[in-house]
């Protein structure tokens, strides 16, 4: 949808299009890595990096006081990089990454800041629904992926339900982003008379 409407999609739409494309690529790569090395846990950290980069750029473009976003983005980019360098992904039993948790937390803070910033300074919150969807999605991500070690190692149908629920949340979030990209294209495509 995004590729089809790429020319008429605005900056935010294009950003989310790259995010979805990178996420899809990472998903495919994780399958290949999983098949070849039997361990694709490193992709959690890479996904964290993609997420923090995407949403930092999004809020950087939409908030006038950029310093706060820059500080959060620096922390969000630095921590997964340190974890990639230090963590031992080969030892599945002791693997516990907090990159996703921290990144989700930072994105939630950025969203809070954005909403409060918009309420205080503007009449209407731009992309209000998107900001609340981001908060909801990353709050769930934070809670789901906090006990990552438990989810990887504990062998129970209960864990499967959690993964399934997370999958549903992901599908909902990605669908929302696709709709956002599509609507952005739709809004910008105006008739000759501006209708």
């Amino acid at each position: 949808m995004g590729l089809f409407r790429y020319k008429i999609t605005n900056r935010n739409g294009r950003l989310f299009l790259f995010y979805l494309t990178l996420s899809l690529t990472l998903d495919l790569m994780s399958r290949v890595i999983g098949q070849t090395t039997y361990n694709n846990l490193i992709t959690f950290n890479v996904l964290s990096l993609i997420e923090i980069l995407t949403f930092s750029i999004y809020y950087f473009n939409n908030i006038k006081t950029k310093r706060f976003v820059s500080i959060l983005a620096s922390i969000g980019i630095g921590y997964p990089l340190i974890e990639i360098a230090l963590i031992n992904t080969d030892n599945v039993v002791s693997f516990q990454s907090y990159s996703k948790v921290l990144v989700a937390f930072l994105i939630i803070i950025m969203s809070f800041y954005y909403i409060l910033y918009q309420i205080k300074r503007e009449q209407k919150i731009a992309n209000q629904n998107l900001a609340f969807v981001i908060i909801a999605y990353f709050s769930l991500e934070l809670i789901f992926l906090l006990p990552l070690n438990f989810l990887i190692n504990y062998n129970s149908p209960f864990v499967l339900y959690i993964w399934f629920f997370r999958l549903s949340v992901n599908i909902f979030f990605y669908s929302y982003l696709i709709r956002f990209i599509w609507r952005n294209g739709k809004v910008q495509k105006q008739s000759y008379f501006g209708l």
Binding site: F112, L146, Y154
Partner: protein, 255 residues
């Protein structure tokens, strides 16, 4: 032992989860507070704009009213009185003047002049407020006893014509009310002019009224509108059988 089975990890997860929920809760509280503040601010701005609009409307209405009164007064004075005077002269110059007609014409000229002066007091700019007040009350001396108490602490006469004319209208309205309803035989006028404030209190010994049960008439509403226009304060006190007293307070320097 797997990582998740360690007590240290579980405690850390619980702490992170609790901190996160507290943060979420704080944000919701902050968000609600900010939204309420914004709503209050918007409402306040709206009412301020509404008030400003009403004030502008009031100002325009009063100014238009005064302009129209001035025009009518001018027409009466320059046109009608002029013509009546010519008729009177013609009658007087006749070999056999009709005295009755001449008297009637003179009376008509006086009435027209009085109406004209009521509509637009002459030399308003050059007349001091105490003199203006006396001018309004003096014609009523035949009907009621009037006592003046002037306390002038500020000698300069720097009131704007607009202020003076509005005060004249207020006093005229009050006198009309006293004449129509109060059945008073004594009126006391207290006027005080100081550096900061100008006050006028008009008290009568009439039959009074109950301000709670009695609805405000057009006259009182007009007085309130004019006081509001002058950004002043107006208080009235009345009791059945004990007369009525009206107090007006305005900021002095209005020019």
């Amino acid at each position: 032992m797997e990582e998740w089975q360690s007590a240290k990890t579980i405690i850390l997860w619980i702490i992170i989860a609790v901190v996160f929920f507290l943060l979420l809760l704080s944000f919701i509280v902050l968000l609600v507070r900010t939204i309420f503040k914004k709503i209050v601010k918007t409402k306040l701005a709206e009412s301020k704009a509404k008030l400003e609009h009403q004030q502008n409307l009031l100002e325009i209405t009063i100014k238009t009213q005064e302009k129209e009164r001035k025009r009518i007064a001018s027409d009466l004075h320059d046109d009608l009185i002029g013509k009546l005077t010519v008729i009177k002269l013609q009658q007087e110059l006749k070999s056999d003047p009709n005295v009755e007609s001449i008297d009637l014409i003179s009376e008509s000229i006086n009435t027209a002049r009085r109406i004209s002066h009521d509509l637009s007091p002459p030399l308003l700019e050059y007349t001091s407020l105490p003199d203006l007040i006396k001018e309004i009350f003096d014609p009523w001396k035949t009907k009621v006893r009037i006592a003046y108490f002037f306390d002038i602490r500020k000698k300069d006469n720097d009131y704007s014509s607009s202020f003076k004319i509005q005060l004249v209208r207020i006093i005229q309205e009050l006198i009309t009310n006293i004449d129509k309803h109060a059945k008073a035989n004594e009126i006391m006028v207290h006027f005080r002019q100081s550096d900061n404030y100008t006050s006028i209190k008009i008290t009568d010994n009439g039959i009074g009224y109950n301000p709670i049960s009695q609805q405000k008439g057009l006259g009182l509403k007009n007085i309130e509108t004019r006081v509001h226009y002058l950004k002043g304060i107006y208080r009235t006190k009345s009791e059945v059988g004990k007369g009525t007293s009206s107090l007006f307070l305005f900021k002095t320097n209005l020019k």
